[in-house]
Subunit: 284 residues, 2 copies
């Protein structure tokens, strides 16, 4: 496994890779969710590139950029075990050198949900991912369904800007009790960790209602709200039932719906989702 | 020479090309300026791709998008003679399908000069060129120095977004009397055509002053203004002496300066430029 930092090193290493090349972009502090992406890439591609970069432009001014957990040595060990070929760990001066001034923005699909709560977040995400795509030129790029809106936004960017690659979206990985893996789970104390289970509980509730024939979004949302109201440590920021591609809110589910939400448990902001009308082996 | 329209056709044709691949993006109505780019690409690359697309997003609401001259048959004949391998002529539905919503923006360097006069112009340029780069994946991309700010903006975008290609900037091509070639010259009547010579005259004046040791930008601008004041059909929009990379206005020339300007001759807007401190065989 080769580890590179600068753009020149990356380009030189990229040239030596056999194709197809799979890219797994990460912010490090890797967990089984990230590793599921690496394993999938390993199965489907001749070469697997992983980037590790905590991207400052996708954090808001009051968000947790400096507190975001980092453990490069552990990450590299995990990636070695998982069979990555090339790990790119750029520094800020590589990614955003002095005079940097170019941004990629996706419009409608970034205005709602996470984008409404975090106004500059997706501009940071699309910009850094466009940079990673151009630098690595992968044939396939792997992302987790955990960040459902990120996936929708990046897929829109790939279509619109004609990136010559396939987006591969992998299922959410959960703890045995249902909590979706997230690097931010490390912020939770024991009580908060228990409280965070309302996320997966409410999603299971939604899936049950849908399986029983309920198609009225207001009713599903009310029942989910009832789950949250039983957990005093959890504060709901939003619960959404939206069209999976455009993320426009639905009144009625004709086909599929992305159920997604953000909550605060203490100061920690957590998100989770499922797609009604799709199989979801992580919750079923 | 292969001619393709859709993205699938383009990708299939691109796969068959030998590398390095050179790309010449154009809006068609080709003249000797465009052809000089094709010839340079022919010399330096194993394959030459030319795109022809009058990009609506780089025209302002009151600009000449619908009037912009088009002559595809003539363009294709010229490209055949010049030795292009692949010509991509996308339609609007290929480039901006329903639901399109992604844009690339470059900040500081687009705020001045043309960008100040044409507020949405460069967002259109950077977006379409990013799309062309991703779709064609060239090793080298060829642009004319005629659009000096466009060149500066696109070079900044290439650096910032880590496009894996070299920007090749080719000299302005002029008529024998000095008028820089432009598809928009076709709008000029005989008197306007003569009046447009103030552009190259004033640039020659600037070069003469610089060659004689003048370094005070205010003085050079005054002398250029004097040239324009002798031509009643020409109305100056701006004259700029700026740092060639950042395009920030200069008081004093320490090293090099981009002298650029926009004028109206009748309803036709014309631009021209030269770099003081560089050789400029088109004006010397």
């Amino acid at each position: 496994m080769e580890i590179v930092k600068t753009m020149d090193e990356l380009r030189a290493a990229r040239k030596k890779l056999n194709t197809p090349v799979g890219l797994v972009p990460t912010m490090g502090f890797l967990h089984a969710g990230h590793l599921s992406l690496v394993k999938r890439a390993r199965q489907e591609c001749d070469s697997v590139v992983v980037s590790i970069y905590v991207n400052p432009t996708q954090f808001g001014p009051n968000e947790d950029f400096s507190a975001y957990p980092r453990n490069l040595e552990q990450d590299l060990n995990l990636l070695r075990e998982a069979g990555a070929d090339l790990v790119w760990v750029p520094t800020e001066v590589v990614m955003y050198p002095e005079g940097y001034q170019t941004f990629v923005t996706v419009d409608e699909v970034t205005r709602v949900l996470e984008g409404a709560m975090r106004p500059t977040h997706f501009r940071g995400v699309t910009t850094i991912v466009a940079k990673l795509f151009n630098a690595v030129q992968p044939d396939k790029a792997y992302f987790g369904q955990k960040d459902a809106q990120q996936v929708a936004v990046l897929q829109q960017m790939v279509w619109d800007l004609n990136f010559n690659l396939d987006m591969i979206i992998c299922p959410i990985v959960r703890e045995k009790d249902g909590l979706a893996l997230s690097s931010r789970n490390t912020y939770l104390d024991t009580d908060q960790r228990k409280a965070a289970l309302v996320l997966s509980c409410s999603l299971r509730k939604a899936r049950k209602l849908f399986a029983d024939g309920e198609r009225d979004c207001r009713k599903i949302r009310e029942e989910m709200d009832a789950v949250f109201s039983q957990e005093p440590l959890a504060k709901v920021q939003y619960i959404s039932l939206a069209a999976p591609r455009t993320l426009q809110e639905l009144d009625q589910i004709d086909n599929r719906a992305l159920v997604s939400m953000a909550i605060y448990v203490g100061k920690t902001r957590l998100i989770d989702n499922t797609v009604l009308g799709n199989e979801d082996t992580t919750l079923d």
